[in-house]
Subunit: 159 residues, 4 copies
Amino acid sequence: MRIAIVYYSKTGNTKKVADLIAEGAKKIDNVDVKSMSIEEIDNEFLNEAKVVIFGSPTIAGTFAWQLKQWLDAAKNVSGKLGAVFATANYVGGGAEVAELSMIAEMLVKGMLVYSSGVAEGQPFIHYGAVCIKDGDDGQKERAKIFGERIARKAVELFN
Amino acid sequence: MRIAIVYYSKTGNTKKVADLIAEGAKKIDNVDVKSMSIEEIDNEFLNEAKVVIFGSPTIAGTFAWQLKQWLDAAKNVSGKLGAVFATANYVGGGAEVAELSMIAEMLVKGMLVYSSGVAEGQPFIHYGAVCIKDGDDGQKERAKIFGERIARKAVELFN
Amino acid sequence: MRIAIVYYSKTGNTKKVADLIAEGAKKIDNVDVKSMSIEEIDNEFLNEAKVVIFGSPTIAGTFAWQLKQWLDAAKNVSGKLGAVFATANYVGGGAEVAELSMIAEMLVKGMLVYSSGVAEGQPFIHYGAVCIKDGDDGQKERAKIFGERIARKAVELFN
Amino acid sequence: MRIAIVYYSKTGNTKKVADLIAEGAKKIDNVDVKSMSIEEIDNEFLNEAKVVIFGSPTIAGTFAWQLKQWLDAAKNVSGKLGAVFATANYVGGGAEVAELSMIAEMLVKGMLVYSSGVAEGQPFIHYGAVCIKDGDDGQKERAKIFGERIARKAVELFN
């Protein structure tokens, strides 16, 4: 089963977190994970993916317009499992609000949205992984765990 | 497969919409649907339900604290498919913001969230069914269609 | 005192509502109101405005990326009174969520945000004016009242 | 001019942050600041306050139902300057989403909402002060600065 991680990265931090999430997701058997910038989408992979994890930096308290522009036009995400992550420059810097805005759009696109929340024990991950810049050690570890959880949920739902 | 509709109703409007959603969900084969107020929860039914659809009136722009109090304490919703509906007194009266707040909490609780969005054609249902008071004819019809879509998605995912 | 209405319009509906809000605002003495698309900003007027009212169509459940792109780069809105309006294609179509996302960004930009809410009696206007397409008669009337209220509040605060 | 800080605290962390914000606000001349739990409201002080700063722990990704219950019933906040703060147990734990939900309700109540955002330079404070538990040193310092900024803005607007 294919899992696509689709991100927009401005400084490189969001790309780094995307790669951590990919690393976590790959721990699950039988998944094929690909992390891709919106500037270099592998449409064939994305079309066949059962899961899309979206990532954005937080820009003035919401997600990047570049990712919104891409998502507005996306035709191949409905029915897929969706999840989100965001980077921000500091605690309280809007990452969670950016995540919730992405989730709002993903629901409009007809995705199934999942974050694991508190349901899989510690660490709790409310709406999606959050890293301050590219993450301290704990945040990096949580990004990997997030990828693993989303992949496991996808296998549970779709295999 | 069991589908629980859990609502808080103050004036009776939200209860009426819950019943419309139940009516729609029952059109799908092999589902057992029960609509229940948070004041009269059938815990056995809820525990075994694969789907929980939450409904609230909009109170000062968010969902009712009574439903939040109930949801904070709920122990049996993680991993289930979740969906929402809301009533409000007028267009622009906060129903969608109330829905998104409920969705935020449902993600924290570990639910899979789905609304159908634009993915199943007209009518588009962004975050969940919305009725102004107990709904005009079009809104009532959309509430039924929403119930049917959530039930169909649940059968697709879990059967 | 100057009041700028800054909108992005795709179909023309949001422009029409901007003009209704301008019409309402002009009922207040001593205000100078100008409605402008982000494609034709009068920067001199905007710089001196004490109030900026932002408007957007609802696109996939959030506000238009074009307006976000503009707002991300805006340098002259901090400390001003801010308000919002949105158009959507149907009830439940995301206008309020779009408004709340705009408000989140306006707060980051350092604006004072006001909507009147329920504080000025009927009609209640939760986060900002909402019109379905270009508004039915009641929605059009509310858009005018919204403009009037924001202008009156601005005079109260800044004069 | 009176500034009320109204909070609900479950573990004591939110109370501690309320007190830090009060400490910061008191640095501004000619303000009288009082921090009060919703369980011990000084109604006379609150009625005459020009500013109310609301604080809540983050509970399952939104603000505490106890504070919502209180806010739903509040009759004396319209027209006042409003601001928010929240505590959460970890980064990404929902504090910002809780803040935005509070802000949504405050707008419905007819308050003017302000956070300072990026408008007053570093530290940027997006929607309101955020502390993880009762805050590390930097977060505590930001809470004080937040109080000071809100008080200064109030003096600017209302004196």
